[in-house]
Symmetry: D2
Subunit: 338 residues, 4 copies
């Protein structure tokens, strides 16, 4: 086991951190060396279900990064503004950083400031970061030192629309996206609006005129289409713990549904985690896995694409491991195949 890499994790309390610890615990080539959290104790104290798995002390974050300096990889599973503050020192010490927060997803500091309400403190690293969506960016991920892991909505929406946009010949593409999230998408929330009492037996939209993930989606789409994309993105909360179910609609009257389906089969044929199904995929069939299930329908002039995944795995922790596996040349499905 002396050949395993040392892993550090900053942020130990959130739902993404739990998934990350659970998945890393099964990975043969790494050892979780340090978990940095506001709370001291052991990971078992934080999470009863990990009681026997990761007996590692959780410590307050120090200025000299002594607890992280002998790690080869550090994951940030923190709220926004933490990674941009601490990652630069680690990166300069040669450590690879995989950031699951939003800090390095937008390349443009002005755009970041617009959505997150403060100036970015590491704009040079914003530009250096690689957007960690393997199905779109595998080449760049291989050589990256800093990965900005995509959000859950962008992962579902970009995977679900990339083949469509890549084949678009129009100068302007208009996408309508209705995307439903499980409640864990809001994080480990102390807001009563995320309580069981106020979420169960309900369903509602939020932020119908502007969600932070909008900018991230558009920026990434520009990588693979020269069309101007007009994106209408309405997010919803459904009474389930996990999952993203995105419905992407666009008018495409003159192309046969089977041809469009073929674009998806071609694009994702070799992808280990993407399946183009012939049924309406359910959130339940992907929860707990790193998979994204797609399907394609036509209604009148409109093409309807369903894209579903587990927001905490393919939309966060699983994707972070997929990035790590690519960066180190390990089998891409290692420890996330189940």
């Amino acid at each position: 086991m002396n050949s395993t890499l040392n892993i550090g994790i900053v942020g130990g309390r959130g739902y993404i951190a739990i998934e990350l610890l659970r998945l890393l615990n099964q990975h043969p080539h790494i050892t979780v060396r340090t978990v940095i959290s506001r709370q001291t104790g052991t990971v078992g104290d934080l999470h009863d279900s990990l009681r026997h798995c990761v007996p590692i002390a959780s410590l307050p974050l120090s200025q000299d990064y002594a607890q992280l300096i002998d790690c080869q990889i550090v994951f940030f599973a923190t709220p926004s503004s933490i990674a941009m503050q601490h990652a630069p020192a680690l990166l300069e010490a040669g450590i690879k950083v995989i950031d699951l927060s939003a800090d390095f997803r937008l390349a443009d500091p002005a755009e970041w400031e617009r959505w997150y309400g403060k100036a970015h403190t590491a704009p040079q690293w914003q530009r250096a970061a690689v957007y960690g969506l393997p199905e779109i960016n595998r080449g760049a991920i291989k050589d990256a030192q800093l990965i900005a892991c995509p959000g859950c909505y962008p992962t579902a929406i970009i995977i679900g629309s990339a083949p469509l946009l890549q084949h678009t010949t129009q100068s302007r593409a208009s996408l309508m996206v209705n995307a439903v999230s499980g409640i864990s998408g809001a994080g480990r929330s102390g807001d009563p609006v995320h309580s069981f009492v106020e979420c169960a037996e309900s369903f509602r939209a939020y932020a119908p005129t502007g969600h932070r993930h909008h900018a991230e989606i558009i920026q990434t789409m520009r990588q693979f289409t020269s069309s101007e994309v007009q994106l209408t993105f309405v997010p919803y909360l459904a009474p389930m713990r996990r999952g993203i179910h995105a419905t992407i609609t666009t008018a495409l009257p003159h192309i046969h549904q089977d041809d469009i389906r073929q674009w998806y089969l071609d694009a994702y044929h070799h992808e280990p985690f993407i399946t183009t199904t012939d049924h309406c995929p359910s959130v339940a069939e992907v929860v707990g896995s790193n998979r994204c299930h797609l399907s394609i329908y036509r209604s009148n002039d409109n093409i309807i694409i369903f894209s579903v995944l587990d927001n905490l795995i393919k939309g966060a922790a699983g994707q972070a491991l997929q990035n790590m596996n690519i960066m180190y040349g390990w089998p891409e499905t290692l420890s996330i195949s189940q």
Copy 2:
């Protein structure tokens, strides 16, 4: 109490029948005289929560309709094909019929046969039936003998789009509807796909290319718009017992959102059950009531309208009572104001 009207109900086991009994039980001007159900006993045997409320014998349906003949109103809360078989005899005997099933919603026998897979047995009454959506059809309801109560999706979608369509000057309007239903929308189902185990913690679309309610929606829209309506309607099941949350989207680039909102305020200002809100309405805020909450947003060229209601009340039993109140000149909110 001798001045109350006698009510008969055919169908006593479904979720809509329970709501109907619960609401009728509070109504001051009627007496539930007979509940006809496959199962004998009392309503209390059928529904524990109604144990003390409606101590009426449930009997098998007889050929001479002896149990119904002294009723002034008969409600059908049955699967499709029952009402069209039995309602004509009652109607000919002068009884008013309020049908909560789909049997009389489509005026065209061919269209009905197409969606329900068999010939309609009472086509003359199909044409005579009044579509029981008060906000659109109040005048005709007043004098109707046979009411075809709208389905839950059509109620949400038509209320949510009528002001928009009434102001449309285009020859062709294209509506995209994503509508989420609670599981009771599937009826009292013995299918494992509606079991707790398979519904909880999941979310999925179904019938993305053709739902029976499509025809009903289009037929009704023709009443108030001369535009050709292209409707893309995707229904979903969410893990909640009740509720419809419809999102209606249409491109309308040149009209200000406030002007569109004003159309809705003008259209529904006097409606006791419709509220145009300034937030994203949740299913929870309407469940248990006969209300429909709307709100209007713009994103890019698109107008987004949310329309939410309780599928078993405003989408079924409450609306049936609202129709009855209108037919008899009683206050429209009687026994459904709560």
Copy 3:
């Protein structure tokens, strides 16, 4: 309407307050005059589902009680320690107070201090308060000025065990109670342990060796039994919004189950809200009502009693109205019959 009584409510944000407002809104003999809450605005701003029902300003609580002084009745739907601070001035002004918090449930100041961790500030009113459980205390309630409304667990447990204890001839009765609560029993909580993510798909006990309601239950049982009661009370949280399901077990080998059942039928025959059923009652069958359903079984030497109710209605707001109806000689079921 000039003959209605004026009602004030202190506490407008909690789940109990919502139920109270909803029920009072239907009551013919009262007018809700003032709702005092930390948040200003209208009740509609607080609760979307009450938008049209109670258009009353919510104001910060003032020292001279100017907003409450012309009320005949004031309800406290507040966390503990608020009512004991403000109720005395109102009571001295001749106003009747119905307290839904725990402040006046325990008659003994030392016992109160033990469970609530601070000295009681109105011990004279502790002793004067009447425990508002009508099925046990109807006579005293009629003439009370200050009602201490019982908690949800005590209501279910005392109703479920009173006939048993009243017939006990042993000097010592041992009761085992396992009582399951919906999540709203924890109040409008901002604790992530009450979030949807952490409650859904789970079930757990809490406080197995001592719950505040223990003292309240024992104190009340002393009213109707001279036996010493040994109570083992284990509370649980189940993933549902509302409801209490209490299972009460005691060894009673020599009395026939039918005779015990008869004790319950005799005790509750005239009670409008208590039903002794012959099935295992479900939480769903009582939610939304002021009813308590009981049933009695034997297994070996043990008698098993199930007692279920809605924690926010019979366990709180509905019971408060039942008390008010008794205090004013109105029909006991007024506005809570549904």
Copy 4:
């Protein structure tokens, strides 16, 4: 891979079969050769989430067992009465059988007939079967040819009470068990009482005076105590998909809680799947794992033991694999450690 054992599975549609396939799919020493189910096609057709995992044809069961005869192990994940009909021929052909149904759990044919309502057709194998609860029976399992896998309730209750009963010196022990199950405990049910609509937001007991698992529990307890056990067992359904939460209570006034806790620590110290915790264990913390979490409290004279597990894993499929691992001398946690 030529050294792997061939596995056959009879029953492919139930929730236990899904878990079994999911877990076996990760096991390095076996190959799932055949899945026998009423429905033809592939396992992927049966279960979307296993689409890529087990591409094995599902076939109707034939009389000569041709599809099973080259298997070394056959699992039955069927309703009762199937295994007793087909297992004998397989056993006589030298195949090992692990039955997850109830057919071989009771050694006494008369007792079996009493609970399952028909004569047992393989009584000789009833007596030869080994009860597959490793924590109690590991020695016998090692050499067994036919394993009767315990039910979910018995697993939780026996693990939770064995140390207690083993230390009991009384001639008669009285256990009160309140055990809460998730809805999947009822199987893949087409009964509306297990629908989402009727289960969500509810909680109820069932079979309070006699559950089939009662006999199985008592029979097993006789293995490790000579005391007569009086068991009162009340099962409940909670609105969650999975999980068993058992509360075991017994009067034990003269022994200190810490001493009793020590019995549990001693008994389960070396058990890989049993943890004696110092908090009230939740269903969520064990779901998805083969673990059983225990904790011990005292209230008055009573000892309270909580025992929680995942009914489909430690209560079924995971335990079946644990048995297989023991039978073949593989590490006991192989493929079920996560």
